[in-house]
Amino acid sequence: MDQSHIRNFCIIAHIDHGKSTLADRMLQLTGTISERDMQAQVLDDMELERERGVTIKASAVRMQYTAADGETYEMNLIDTPGHVDFAYEVSRALQACEGAVLVVDATQGIEAQTLANLYMALEHDLELVAVVNKIDLPAAQPDEVAQEIEDLIGLDAADVLQVSAKTGENVPQVLEAIVRRIPPPKGDRAAPTRALIFDSHYDSYKGVIAYVRVFDGVIRRTDTLRMMSTDTELEPVEIGIFNPHMQPTDSLSAGEVGYIATGLKTVRECRVGDTVTLAEGGAPEPLPGYKQAKPMVFAGFYPADNDDYDALRDALEKLQLNDASLVFEPETSQALNFGFRVGFLGLFHMEIIQERLEREYGLDLVATSPSVEYQVVLRNGDVIVITSPADLPDESEIAEIREPWMFIEIFSPEEYIGAIMELVTGRRGEYVSMEYLDAKRVLLKYRIPLAELIVDFYDRLKSVTRGYASLDYHFDSYRPERLVKLDVLVNKQPVDALAMIVHEDEAYRKGQKLVSRLKRLIPRQLFEVPIQAAVGKRVISRANVKALRKDVLAKCYGGDVTRKKKLLEKQKKGKKRLKMIGNVEVPQEAFMAVLRLNDDD
């Protein structure tokens, strides 16, 4: 197809504003998916996506659309996730496109990720088609929201399309607008071939599948290709397009989006962000790649059963192919043996990865409480970076600890200003500014330590604002703070996997909470188990798990030995899931106890 008949666009929005549903209607209108294969949010094909009703991973699909001008266009659509943790997925998708459809929920108006994603699109010089969605809902205020888009984003309210992705109303106009307003790609088909890998996944038959956007030249099935950053050469197993499933083609030309089945088994040779060219007569310069996503949150992942270490590494490698933002390295813990320190873009990302490891790879994991990345200035002037409290050097060697602070923006109805203020300041946050978006909605800006943000801040925000507030954040700066390491001793032994770094003023309160929580989580053992929280040598809180005195079965009638044995077997299975720390059995949940320290029990 000549480039003037190609349109590459993505759909961006705040979470739940209806991107995937809008994509459904487009797939239907263009006949890409038959009525029989149609289901709600059809592009969300991962089990976890369907179950939770959220998009986790961007997906690309090609459609053939015959427009009002009678011409047929090749439309490459990329549906993106809306959750703040997956902004990196969005940024990569944007780079493969010339335009974006910005969706805003007519009952919610502009929210935090609406703006965040909009700014990203503008940074990439994309043409925007703004759409107000869900106009079928009684609470919809399409005109007001269109006006809001004009006021806040500067797009003419008259150009904002008002649609219902659910009923399909006005969706054809969106396709028309895409054809008319989004420019075609302007690649040079005669130039040396250059294609950007904007995503990948692993297929057990075809190896790493690289999702590519061809910028210049042509890729043919028979070409020998070269990955520019690693100089790896390969003969593709297959090339093709997503329609919506993988469909082989003979070539992909400048301006087109498709895939290359590389046959490669590991991510190392085929990195997202790399440029693919031809082995012979290749391009001299790669395309601008991506900045590697910067993980914000780190946690130790350990196999519950030590024998599963290799399986865990394997699974993490496979997931990395699917999720370019995932990073990990081996880590050892006295308490938990061999595992990995894994970096995530946020807590939701961590939760998703943990769940995928457990479900898709059948692993039983122990996860430690999440931590952020600290900069530690030593007395000798060196600066080291740590992502695990266990790695913090001895107090006497430390000159200063710096922690990451975030800049956050909260969109909310004005009646919750007080509650939000209280929440943020209770977590060491500092006020920056407040502006009214309209008569009833405000945009609050703060700075807050990331460590405070990752511990259920978002959930608390949602609950104090009855779900009405939305949040966006980005890195602000590292700041020196009075931070200390809070050690936890179980039966007098420090447990590295339970240590945490806390603000000095909070050490006492957190130490007490942690100890009382652990006291409840650690089952009674055959002997008394003291649990202590300590800063340096100073014990700031202690409690004892009393020795177990009684564990007998009640009367079972009539010699029901089978039932007794079943109960004993259940008990034994339960014990197997416990981790031994010295001679104390500790349940897996204990290692995540820190996460809930802010709950009021």
């Binding site: 009393k546 177990l548 007998v552 009539g558 010699g559 029901d560 007794k564 014990k575």
Partner: protein, 405 residues
Amino acid sequence: MGNGEAFFGTLYGNIPAELALYIHIPFCEARCSYCAFNTYVGQRARVPAYVRALQAEMRLAAEALPRVPVSSVYFGGGTPSLLAVDELGALLETCADAFVLIPDVEITLEANPERLSPRDFRAWRALGFNRVSLGMQSAREDELRLFRRTHTLADVRAAVEAARAAGIPSLNLDLIYGVPRQTPAAWRESVQAALALAPDHLSLYSLGVEEKTLLHKQIARGRVPPPDPDLAADMYELAEELLARAGYRHYEISNWARDGHACRHNVHVWRNRPYLGLGAGAHGNVAGARYANLRRPSDYIARVAAVAAGDARSTLLAAPAAEEIAALTPADVYAETVILGLRLTEEGIAPCAFAARFGRDLWTLYGAQLRRLLAWGLLEQSDKGRLRLTPRGRLLANRVFVEFV
């Protein structure tokens, strides 16, 4: 003695050729709040058919087994005392007819101390019952009410008197401790009230809150506090002391008896010897398998009738009404022998007896576990290496047993 192999095969090892019978009567007047047993209320009309099914099951089982002497028959429930005298008589008659009962066979009847007359005891005695177990549960009205028991302490006293007058030679009382809101003083009161009745045997059960019971619901809803396990441990220790002083021997984790009054039937089971379970939901262990019968009386009755008519067949012929059958491996039998045997607090498990029975060395099989348990102070070794639960081990018996599963 010692020729059991000929009867039961090598799986059970070298044991006396004796069988025990357990007969389940799954009917009660009302359901107690803590009860998760296989029992049903309001089914009086079904009893005659049920009795006939039991008789048929006995005959079918007896046909499938060698004619082994039966040393004990235990009527448990449910409430066996709900059966009319002639129904009990019919069952015992079939029993004596189908099986070989040894001359001094122990025949136990579980009875609820409500609406029992001296005439009942006299009739039972005449039928051959020589042991009666009374569900006293508590001496206190508040606890009996919490349990939804339908009798009073006065009923228990009257029943004991009647049993003695009728010449019942061995009498047991059941008590429950670790009850919500129960204080050690209240527990002492119940124990002393039971001792005042001079029973030959006492069974003290720790209250278990089982799912699907009324008590479980009440606790889940916060209407009744959950039992306190530490307090229950205190009560157990208190009872050990009181009963020792009164001359009872603590022969099993939950059972005490005067000399010569240990329950032969239960000791047989704890020694892991074969027994037949008859009736709905009854469990048995014969012919190298553990089995459980169909639980619902109607299903059970229909199944027995079908087997008797030749329309159905169980894979375990000795258990015509079995719903689940699990064949035992030698390893199962060794483990079960240890687990059950350690319940016998005086007898425990003697390596020499174990070797004589199975031709296997206990320490070779379970050295690691035994060493651990000795080190933890849950087991102790006495004369000639006999292994027994320590006083602490009795309260932590599950921690001991779990090592062997």
